[in-house]
């Protein structure tokens, strides 16, 4: 059974067991606009919850993608650097950034579920 959680920085993480897939939300891609460059982390990279893990750039600006949880990167999405616009068109699917092996699944408890995230976004606008 997988579960999806969200951060206040607009990342999502979909977790099966102790492995999560991370991306940015529909709201985030809309705010960034046309994405022209993506950098994903290499396998084996250790990241901390809230730490910089990937980079996403629109025509106008560069933004960091933070890891929602601590752990070790299993795989970066190698298709993204050649097709960064995928993050705009399919942010919750093919536009995923990296997979991570969680070092502490309890960290998920500090993140928002879909309903809480939707409410969080609604309050931003």
């Amino acid at each position: 059974m997988s579960q999806t959680r969200f951060t206040k920085d607009h990342e999502w993480i979909k977790v099966d067991g102790n492995v999560g897939t991370v991306g940015i939300t529909e709201f985030a891609q809309g705010q960034l606009g046309d994405i022209v460059f993506v950098e994903v982390p290499p396998a084996g990279k250790a990241v901390k919850a809230g730490g910089e893990a990937a980079v996403v750039e629109s025509v106008k600006a560069a933004s960091e993608v933070y890891s929602p949880v601590s752990g070790t990167v299993k795989e970066g999405n190698s298709a993204l650097p050649d097709a960064p616009e995928t993050v705009n068109s399919d942010p919750r699917g093919k536009g995923w950034f990296f997979k991570i092996e969680l070092s502490d699944v309890k960290e998920l408890d500090g993140l928002m579920d879909q309903a809480a995230y939707d409410k969080f976004v609604a309050e931003l606008s």
């Binding site: 606009g33 046309d34 022209v36 460059f37 950098e39 980079v55 750039e57 629109s58 025509v59 106008k60 600006a61 560069a62 650097p81």
Partner: protein, 369 residues
């Protein structure tokens, strides 16, 4: 009180909002950074058809005086005595050390009148400086009652000619007065995108009507500040406050071309000795085009190093060029590294990335000369 309440508005603000623009603070104004089309498509649209920009935040003024050309020549290095009525010149307002106070467009109106268009962020300072320095010789009158639109792109001419047939025969950097459906307008065949096009000064009260009439034409889209920035960067044009400022001289900024032959021979502009010396001997640093060799854009303030890791300069504008289809930048490097093709190293997020000095513009200008 929120920040938005402190912002000034152009006459087109309500139109921008009704078109779905994302509004941001810029130079003290509430301005459209992009419309629903998005920065990337807005940029490409301007290069293939026509884009309409609201640049009403820029400063417009008339300068009058019996010897107005000679008077303003004491503050800028451009040849204004040689400027005929209806001609436009791009020039630079200089301080006493040769730094650039602003870049501006000066248009000849008649023997005793010049029309000035300056940057939004610096307009109050510019106009105060000019009025003060030329006191007793020339009178500056601001035109805060006028909006400014830019219609840019290859189909700008056919679009505007439907309303004002005479615009088709204007050449690049010329100006004329005419009427747009009974509205008196001052037209300039100029712009800041590298494309052919016009800037149109309109009374505030008629600005929305004129903008809507242009937007109703086929192939015209509203374009925000985001695409305006990427268009001018690809065109190699300086953004005041980023690429040029009071710490850069015309020679350092690779703008020697704005200083005409007569002005080089006669001097008589601020810091003329220093600037003429730099034209002759070169300046210690120079603005150049910079092409990152990978895919990662390098943004303003990115450090530039030589092959040995020594800091040799900094990027002043950088991003992704939608028409160039890759990262583009400009910045200052030490003079020894300014030749096209010179390898550079850019420090992006702590990583050294390869780049090289590139010829400007990145996308060829398509002015109507």
């Amino acid at each position: 009180m929120t920040a938005a309440e402190n912002l000034k508005s152009t006459p087109l603000e309500a139109l921008h909002v009704s078109l779905g623009a994302k509004m941001v603070p810029f130079a003290g104004y509430n301005m459209p950074v992009q419309y629903p089309l998005g920065v990337l498509k807005e940029h490409l649209h301007t290069r293939t058809e026509a884009g309409l920009f609201d640049v009403s935040h820029m400063g417009q003024a008339t300068l009058t005086g019996e010897d107005v050309d000679a008077a303003l020549e004491t503050l800028v290095p451009g040849d204004l005595k040689g400027l005929k009525p209806g001609q436009i010149r791009y020039t630079l307002l200089l301080n006493e050390t040769g730094g650039i106070i602003d870049d501006l467009m000066v248009t000849g109106v008649d023997d005793s009148t010049l029309y000035l268009v300056v940057n939004a962020a610096s307009k109050d300072g510019d106009f105060a400086h000019i009025a003060d320095k030329l006191k007793g010789r020339a009178t500056l009158t601001r035109h805060e009652d006028a909006a400014l639109l830019a219609l840019q792109g290859p189909t700008a001419v056919q679009t505007l000619a439907k309303f004002i047939p005479a615009v088709a025969s204007m050449t690049f950097m010329t100006s004329r007065v005419d009427t747009f459906e009974d509205v008196p307008v001052r037209l300039f065949r100029s712009g800041y995108t590298g494309e052919d096009g016009y800037e149109i000064s309109i009374p505030n009260a008629a600005a929305t009507t004129v903008a809507k009439a242009l937007l109703a034409e086929p192939g015209v889209q509203p374009i925000g500040l985001g695409a305006r920035d990427s268009l001018r960067l690809e065109a190699g044009l300086c953004l005041y406050g980023s690429d040029i400022d009071t710490t850069t001289t015309p020679t350092e900024a690779a703008l020697n071309w704005v200083i005409g032959a007569r002005r080089r021979a006669e001097g008589g502009f601020p810091a003329a000795d220093k600037i003429l010396g730099q034209i002759k001997a070169g300046a210690p640093k120079k603005r150049v085009g910079i092409k990152p060799l990978g895919k990662a854009p390098a943004r303003a303030h990115t450090e530039i190093q030589d092959g040995s890791g020594k800091r040799i300069g900094e990027i002043t504008s950088g991003g992704f060029g939608p028409s160039f289809n890759g990262p583009v930048a400009m910045g200052y490097v030490e003079a020894a590294f300014a030749k096209v093709g010179t390898p550079l190293t850019l420090i992006v997020r702590g990583q050294p990335l390869p780049a090289e000095v590139a010829a400007l513009p990145f996308v060829p200008h398509r002015y109507f000369k």
